[in-house]
């Protein structure tokens, strides 16, 4: 691990440009500090070198999922990535998230990502009305455990940017949306599992997945969309052969 020396300067390459202007890279010399995150570096550039640099962040503590960018070719939460962990010599390369349109500079357009979340039927289908008693849920039940394994997703789109299948097939729903569908499929309170399986077994559905595993490898919350998608493949196959289990 390389820790930047006090008073040293990093060489930071940043992708610039928007849908209307050609993409280019610009390089900045950024002073190195102790305990500096990649988000600190981007903020330093915007505050001290070029106020026109566009990027997105909110919470700074890895809860909101809005600051994800490509750092040296790897999609990461920039707020939770220490410079010392990713510094390549004294260089860092920062670009907007892959597989999404760019709004400007480092801000990716998340619309396709959220549209697919909806297309994968990632919404609750209630079994009861609000007038009825709340149904008890057994936290130890096998299905509940499968659902609980995937519900900590904060929609940062890192898995979506890591996935080469998304790159190759713009219709593919992607790991986050499919994992969301899998958690709902395993939710005892969800009333329409057939609708979920219909949504995930179409043209851009779970069967497009080539099991490359980049989603699971790069998820900052250590979730496992790869296994969730495998679960959907099993569920759709069981349904095809007329069984539900």
């Amino acid at each position: 691990m390389h820790v930047a020396e006090h008073g040293s300067v990093m060489n930071v390459t940043v992708q610039r440009g928007s849908a209307d202007t050609p993409t280019r890279t610009e390089t900045f010399d950024v002073p190195a500090y102790d305990n500096q995150t990649v988000l600190d570096v981007v903020s330093w550039i915007q505050q001290n070198a070029d106020p026109t640099l566009t990027y997105r962040f909110a919470c700074r503590v890895g809860m909101c999922g809005s600051c994800a960018m490509m750092v040296n070719g790897v999609p990461r939460w920039t707020c939770r990535t220490h410079v010392s962990k990713v510094l390549d010599g004294n260089k860092i390369n920062i670009a907007p998230l892959r597989n999404l349109p760019v709004i400007k500079d480092l801000a990716a357009d998340m619309d396709p990502f959220f549209d697919k979340w909806v297309a994968a039927e990632g919404k609750h289908h209630p079994t009861r009305t609000r007038e009825e008693e709340i149904a008890p849920v057994d936290p130890q039940a096998e299905e509940r455990q499968a659902a609980s394994a995937g519900i900590e997703c904060i929609n940062c789109s890192i898995c979506y940017s890591a996935c080469d299948t998304v790159t190759g097939n713009p219709d593919y729903l992607g790991p986050a949306a499919l994992q969301r569908a899998w958690t709902l499929y395993n939710d005892a309170k969800d009333a329409d599992r057939d609708a979920i399986l219909d949504a995930v077994s179409g043209k851009g559905g779970c069967h497009n997945c080539h099991s490359m595993g980049s989603c699971t490898a790069y998820c900052p919350n250590e979730l496992d969309p790869l296994s969730a998608i495998a679960g959907l493949k099993r569920a759709t196959t069981r349904r095809f052969f007329g069984r539900r289990g």
Binding site: Q15, A95, R98, M212, T216
Partner: protein, 112 residues
């Protein structure tokens, strides 16, 4: 920007794909050579003398490697997609396959 992909699952994926393509290119040639046993035995014999060359022996090693890696890549995929195992179970399964391969491979080496 160069995209980083060097993690075990992605490497397993690409090895499986590349070995599949290589085998698909090799097998027609392989069957054609085998067919010479029926159509032109003399030509087959002269071809088979090539297998004495060290380079060809090395290539044969590569072929067996491609077959093995494609076979186990396929078993890996089948297990991953059809068996909802936990990570420790998968580790034990891999260890069991590796162990049994080692034992049967040693037996095979003794036998030939």
């Amino acid at each position: 920007m160069k995209v980083a992909r060097a993690h075990p699952l992605w490497l397993a994926y690409i090895l499986h794909r590349v070995s599949g393509i290589a085998l698909a290119l090799f097998l027609p040639l392989h069957f054609w050579v085998l067919s010479l046993a029926l159509t032109d035995a003399a030509r087959l014999d002269s071809f088979l003398t090539l297998t004495e060359m060290p380079l060809v022996k090395l290539a044969e090693f590569g072929l067996v490697f491609l077959l093995a890696v494609h076979l186990f890549g396929g078993l890996r995929l089948l297990a991953m997609e059809w068996l909802p195992w936990t990570a420790p179970q998968k580790t034990w399964a891999a260890a069991a396959v590796a162990g049994s391969l080692f034992v049967s491979g040693t037996f095979f080496l003794q036998a030939i």
